[in-house]
Symmetry: C2
Subunit: 316 residues, 2 copies
């Protein structure tokens, strides 16, 4: 039985990665405040290194490896932001990174991994094919496997985002974020589990696309669910909750909103127009729900929305 | 003979607009550092209120009006960022704003003005038609004319951006910016005219599209030039230097690079991909030149590029 991380581990992660990540800004927009009916601060992890918050967890996990192990390199299977983040971390630390990617993954995503010097190894579309290919890579290279979310150091690393938020601002009532595998959600729950002097309790609120809404079912039934058919435009959120992530979020009783595909696209367009930052669809999911439902608590005054990533191909 | 503003006026502007603007972040990208061969910090005025640095000059100018005059409202002719900025400032201060716009201006730009509650009055395409219509508006309403760049308080307001840069970072060698009417360039020259304790002299470097390169000619010949045919994709830079702006920049001997339309588009795409912020073409002009020529001084280590605006229609 693996232990789950705690607030103490999030603080340790913060120290470990300090100076090696961007302190991303909190942006706001009068227009969006009016539309949401509450003051909203946007934590721009789309401006993080490698274009998503995933850099935090990847960096923390790689730095936590013993030096002799680390130098053999790292590997994962992910065609998305975790793959790019791990490649970017490895490049920065002068380590080899191998990313197992289905041969059907988009050219844009593969280029994003290559841009950071990641070695791509193709596999088939099934989970079995991915896992077999990854096992081969690990056996061949001695590289360490860094999973995308169901991992002690990844969760602790993702939690550093919320610690930063709590330092950058005061008196916040809620933090809204998208839920996929649950790495960011679990880390944020841990990071906010003990109110800082300047903050009362902060409510974490999760949002999923209806088409990838298994976390809501899992947390309502207290049973992990299989992932749904991978059709949502919010491709970063198609995974189902990891085991460790589920435990933390189930214990917290994370509330979860659902939003439609059209609501996601509308929120993405609106946020890019008002905030002038590039968002991938997954990033717009919490805003879509906030615009629809308003703040979670009726007396909440100030809400932080985490913009999780900006890795999207823009037809410019 | 109108006096030109000085560093003292920029400091006064800073105080006047304090708390009413966003302190925009400085972003960086390892990829862009490598491509430029120098450390580059991007001052994100595209994330400023109304989507451009123009908010600074407009706000400073409106706040500098005597209260009895101010309450009659403000007006300008501009279909671009100055028009949107003035409308946004007026909305914030509960004043009426009238923006004279050629009836041929793009729907996107007109919507950007209306979004901030600006009243649009259409005019013909010629400068004469614009000026006549503006004169009518001023006579009818008693509103104050706030020009886009050739104005004491506008220049002082735009200079506050550089003051902010000097506070946000230390040891910078150069500030690169695009040159149109010269409001931002003149303000920046004033703001950096006396080195702060933490900074040595900072060299200001201007960049224009070759297709709108009249400022380079003006500063080389010490003669103001007529604007060139308005064809560059960098539509914010088609104006020629204002009188006051010319004086300040001619006295400073501002160096100016030129870039092609293709170089602008390439830099825009690259910057959006690496920085994950939305840039209009004018914003990408300095980066295009920096990638082509490298830093101005051969021993420069750290360059700030001002990203001036993000008001562009994205085909999402």
């Amino acid at each position: 039985m693996q232990p789950t991380p705690s607030l103490r581990n999030v603080h340790a992660a913060r120290k470990r990665i300090a100076g090696r990540i961007h302190q991303t800004p909190l942006l706001s927009s009068d227009t969006l405040n009016q539309l949401a009916g509450v003051e909203v601060l946007f934590k721009c992890e789309n401006l993080q290194k490698s274009g998503s918050f995933k850099y935090r967890g990847a960096l923390n996990s790689v730095l936590a490896l013993p030096a002799a192990v680390r130098k053999l390199g790292v590997a994962t299977h992910s065609s998305g932001n975790h793959g790019a983040a791990l490649a970017a971390v490895a490049q920065r630390l002068n380590l080899p990174a191998t990313i197992v990617v289905p041969h059907t993954a988009s050219k844009f995503k593969q280029e994003n991994i290559r841009r950071y010097g990641g070695r791509i190894v193709h596999c088939g579309k099934t989970l079995k094919s991915r896992e077999n290919k990854l096992a081969e890579v690990l056996a061949d290279t001695g590289a360490s496997y860094i999973p995308p979310y169901d991992h002690f150091d990844v969760i602790a690393g993702q939690g550093t985002c919320a610690l930063e938020i709590l330092e950058q601002t005061t008196r916040i009532d809620e933090i809204w974020l998208p839920v996929g595998g649950g790495g960011l959600a679990a880390g944020t729950v841990l990071a906010t589990s003990k109110p800082a002097a300047s903050n009362k309790n902060v409510q974490v609120v999760g949002v999923e696309p209806t088409l990838a809404g298994e976390a809501q079912v899992a947390l309502q039934t207290h049973q992990r669910q299989l992932p749904m058919s991978p059709v949502s435009i919010a491709d970063g959120l198609r995974a189902s909750l990891g085991l460790m992530n589920f435990k933390i979020l189930d214990n917290y009783q994370l509330p979860i909103h659902l939003v439609s595909e059209q609501e996601i696209v509308d929120a993405q367009r609106l946020a890019m127009s008002c905030l002038k930052v590039v968002l991938e669809p997954s990033s717009a999911v919490p805003l879509a729900a906030l615009l629809k439902h308003g703040s979670w608590g009726s007396d909440s005054r100030r809400v932080v929305v985490i913009l999780t990533g900006g890795n999207v191909e823009l037809p410019l």
